[in-house]
Symmetry: C2
Subunit: 432 residues, 2 copies
């Protein structure tokens, strides 16, 4: 057996089938690493193995670059790639999946795309979305601007899923008045797996761009765990709700914008009031982001120093509990440490930091005039973040501080600019 071979391994209690991975340095002598059909790796102790069989020998594929043919009757879509699972391959060295992408490969991997549009493809970076810094948003925004200038009906942006929804929110602020659709597409399973969602997500995004008049930033991912429909999700109101499911991306306090049936190609809009495509509209690129912005999740038994850390920051988003709370009123008989949290928070605000409250319940909204805790916090200067996701509030706050004065920021943060605040989520919805 050698790495890459499809093999069958029989142990004392069970039979395993999969692809043999190269051994890990630490455990290599004692353990086989097997990539199972479901795409995940398991380790099998060599001493428990009774029999091994090679089912299919691994022969490395030749890497020739095919020129893609253009059909002049079709619209043009630009694909910008930043890395992530959607273009990942297996690393036979570590046995893990790593991000490796050449733009030509994409169309070779997904030939169906060439029937929908002509594609330009550009690799902006090759990274995991975890490593995104605000500066990357500027790099991406400028690449989008360049593609719009070159002319196209829409742009597909491939990205790792971990921070895809955060990046789409950031882009919706940065790319003011974008004349065409910019659709973020990711994959929860890599293309070498039978259950990969990469092809369907890409194809649905291309269908949506070419068959509708939608403009603006959105996300295209599986709507359900089955391969029937993709959802076009709102850039600022989407959360990755599962670590591995293909339908992990869910709208929060909002509905999907549209859905695309993969089998019939039928597109149904669930939101009607979107901004229409207008190739003459001028993109207003505002890519400044304030670097000194933090995000702090509240938990029980906090230390005031966890708050004080953000003294000197320009902005801080708190992911509070429930309707927007932090600790701060613990009874004396147990501990005095909680009593130091409001003063710590006050120090942060007095240092010039704009502090926004969101909720860790994901769904719902902060409402800081219901309990005295909330009113105490707003008296300190904490600004309610309405029904914004913490991550959306975080990139919005950095963007506002980068492009507006502190006073304007404090006003604009609770106003709906890009669909990040659902004005339909009124008090009445609390009756449910």
């Amino acid at each position: 057996m050698k790495p890459g071979d499809k093999v069958k391994i029989l142990t004392q209690d069970k039979e395993y089938e999969g692809t043999l991975m190269p051994s890990l340095q630490e455990t290599g002598k004692d353990t086989y690493i097997l990539k199972l059909k479901n795409g995940y790796n398991i380790g099998i102790e060599k001493k428990t193995v009774k029999k091994t069989t090679v089912l299919k020998e691994y022969i490395p594929a030749k890497n020739k670059k095919d020129k893609i043919e253009q059909d002049n009757s079709l619209p043009t879509i630009s694909i910008l790639h930043t890395g992530g699972t959607i273009a990942s391959k297996i690393d036979y060295r570590t046995g893990a999946v790593y991000s490796s992408f050449s733009p030509e490969d994409l169309l070779k991997m997904f030939p169906e795309l060439s029937k929908i549009a002509n594609f330009r493809s550009n690799l902006i970076s090759n990274m995991w979305s975890d490593d995104l810094r605000f500066k990357h948003f500027e790099v991406i925004a400028k690449a989008v601007q360049k593609e719009i200038k070159k002319g196209c009906q829409g742009i597909i942006l491939g990205m790792g899923t971990d921070n895809l929804a955060v990046a789409s929110a950031a882009m919706s602020f940065i790319l003011e008045d974008i004349p065409i659709p910019l659709i973020f597409v990711g994959a929860q399973r890599s293309s070498d797996r039978g259950s990969s969602d990469a092809a369907m997500n890409l194809i649905c995004a291309a269908e949506f761009i070419t068959k509708t008049d939608f403009s603006g930033v959105a996300i295209c991912m599986h709507e359900h765990s089955s391969d029937d429909t993709c959802a076009i999700l709102p850039a600022c109101k989407t959360y990755k709700m599962h670590s591995s499911r293909r339908d992990a991306f869910q709208p929060v306090n909002d509905t999907a914008i549209a859905k695309i049936n993969f089998n019939t190609n039928k597109i149904e809009f669930l939101q009607k009031n979107y901004v229409k495509k207008d190739l003459k509209r001028k993109l207003n690129l505002k890519s400044n982001m304030e670097n000194k912005v933090g995000l702090l999740k509240i938990h029980v038994h906090m230390d005031p120093k966890q708050f004080e850390f953000y003294k000197g920051y320009k902005g801080l988003v708190i992911e509070g509990t429930g309707l927007g709370h932090t600790p701060g009123q613990a009874p004396n008989e147990i501990s005095n440490i909680h009593k130091k949290i409001y003063p710590a928070l006050k120090k942060v605000i007095d240092s010039g930091c704009v502090v926004i409250m969101t909720t860790q319940t994901i769904f719902g909204r902060v409402h800081m005039h219901v309990y005295d805790k909330g009113t105490d916090l707003t008296s300190l200067g904490v600004i309610p973040g309405e029904d914004m996701l913490a991550n959306t509030a975080f990139v919005k706050l950095s963007w506002l501080l980068g492009n507006y004065s502190k006073e304007e920021t404090k006003k604009l943060i609770s106003q709906n600019l890009r669909g990040e605040i659902n004005e339909r989520l009124t008090e009445d919805m609390f009756l449910n």
Copy 2:
């Protein structure tokens, strides 16, 4: 009009009906505060008001304490109260809801309870769950121990909802081998509101305690937004998923243990393998908690100092992205700051801190051998937290460090002790 009166206020554009609240200090001169039927307050500028009508004058209720009659044929339930919305009243001073509780009031407020069982009622503390410190868990645990010694069929623990699921997880670790059921009950709407869930949640918990042989820690809250069923939820695998809905509490990577039909009193078990009630079993109270434990939520554009802050801590739970990632591999051309995150994390681990990885997707599990990011982190010494909720991992880590050695803690953290890790959530579930 005076505070407390039911009034109708006609403005230039609209008519409002509700209870007049006392004015706020800052805006009192110019604004009426009206508590609407849905329980929330709105401000109405006095200058826009055309007409006001008093519909029903406010007459303060007399406060006489009724002695509760005992029925010797009924089982005994002990109610322990810690504060929160379930016992909150309106503060006519600030117009907000504040927590105020006298145990006798509860049975007066919910007379239906006296048909189900005899109740003992004790006020442990009167606080918001936001302010919980580990020491409170000990206070609660000792109160539970005392009630068990006194003898009862089960205990209802009333608590604010914000950290109710965190406290129930902590209690399930602390109260090893608990012989009877301890059911956490909260309310998302206070008892003075028509839509309050306080009564139904309490009644269903009492029904569940008296009509089944379940023992252990669990939560009883609305299953849906309608008043039909309550769910008995697993103590370690429940998350408050909405800021205000009555069905905010949802099982994560698990199912409800049982559901109770409020109209028919029928109880249906969804989990069959629970530990049975046994009044002879001896409670093993392990209430030590390590104080120096933190929780850090990952976001884009992090500063290595946010990690370094936890140097010297005994434990840290990271709420990573996706399958369990942090930033750490940013390309050089943009910034070097990300490259300092792994070294910062290493410093924290080298200082003696046990670092556990969980995921901010809430649903699903970490899986740190899929991508090279994950394998890099485990090489640093980060321990995968399986499918544990971040908050559950947080209290479990503090509890383990309080009662076991560091080496035992590192082993036990990824083992299922109280249903906090779903062993049924196998690799196969990733095919969805």
